[in-house]
């Protein structure tokens, strides 16, 4: 397992990828995680107008931990996998309201659209700092309690927990350089 030193990003606490090895023994590179930490903070500050406290990223050990709402972006090219932004329902509604400027029902197409755009901006902004050329998909949005998202096997899923004054959420990153 690759050990990383604490890294402080601008205007925020240190966020260090987890060091614990998982059962599949996959490696975690902070070079692939830090861009998502930075982009999440930037997107929420600029577009949602909330300051986001990034807690310590860690490996997702329990695949059954789930949420009510997820925005999914796929990666292809020199980086493959996915980045998922996930919320519990109440937090999602409040953060979408702050982003879109209106209170939207979870069943509204506009709600899903807003979630998708947040995921798009987080993944898209991170992409340029991944050190490789990658393409991202248009977003997919899943709404429903207890949904599980399939990941790349043999690749750790890193959870970046995020706290805001109007609700908490998580960015889950499951990516790796593609085979050459």
């Amino acid at each position: 397992m690759e050990q990383t030193s604490p890294t402080t990003t601008a205007a925020g606490p240190a966020a260090t990828p987890a060091a614990a090895a998982g059962k599949d023994g996959g490696k975690i590179s902070s070079k692939l995680i830090l861009p998502f930490v930075n982009s999440t903070r930037q997107v929420f500050k600029t577009m949602v107008k909330v300051d986001t406290k990034i807690l310590t990223p860690h490996r997702k050990e329990n695949p059954l931990v789930s949420y009510d709402v997820s925005g999914i972006i796929g990666f292809s090219g020199e980086i493959i996998g996915s980045a998922v932004v996930s919320f519990q329902a109440a937090a999602a509604r409040k953060l979408v309201e702050a982003f879109a400027g209106m209170d939207l029902e979870l069943t509204s197409p506009d709600f899903a659209d807003a979630i998708g755009e947040l995921a798009n901006m987080i993944a898209g902004s991170a992409k340029k700092d991944l050190g490789a050329t990658a393409n991202i998909t248009v977003p997919s949005v899943v709404i429903g309690s207890g949904h599980l998202i399939a990941r790349l096997s043999g690749v750790p899923c890193i959870v970046i927990p995020c706290e805001t004054p109007v609700g908490n959420f998580a960015v889950e990153v499951n990516i790796k350089p593609s085979a050459k």
Binding site: T46, D110, D113, G116, N120, M121, G124, K127, T137
Partner: protein, 124 residues
């Protein structure tokens, strides 16, 4: 101003409208992808004053849309508004014919300034 907004996210189009309303009274046309945007241009009674276009969209992406438009319209100012921030992408978009580039996430002030700058250069 008559403005064409091209983005698959309605939320993003609404955010852009709100920001651009600060520049004056505008008439907006909207499209969710490049195909819809070409249809909007085809049925418009005159040219748009400016077009804001996203890159990653279903059916037809923004780069393809810009390339198609520039085959017959070299004048309408077009601003790419996208998360694609790599230098190579920016160069690609400029070569395709965009007049300016805004990287998401953006502030309303930032978007307004880029649009004003683009319009000023087009008028010069």
């Amino acid at each position: 101003m008559r403005i064409l907004l091209v983005d698959d996210s309605k939320t993003m189009r609404n955010i852009q409208k709100k920001a651009l309303d600060a520049l004056g009274t505008n008439e907006y046309c909207e499209a969710g992808d490049g195909v819809e945007a070409l249809a909007q241009i085809a049925k418009a009674t005159g040219p748009f004053d400016i077009v804001l276009v996203d890159w990653n969209m279903p059916n037809m992406d923004g780069l393809t849309f810009v390339t198609r438009v520039r085959q017959s319209d070299k004048k309408t100012p077009m601003v790419m508004v996208t998360t694609e921030a790599e230098k190579t992408r920016v160069i690609e978009a400029i070569k395709a014919g965009v007049n300016n580039y805004v990287i998401k996430p953006f502030t309303p002030d930032g978007l307004q300034e880029k649009v004003k700058l683009t319009l000023a250069k087009a008028a010069a």
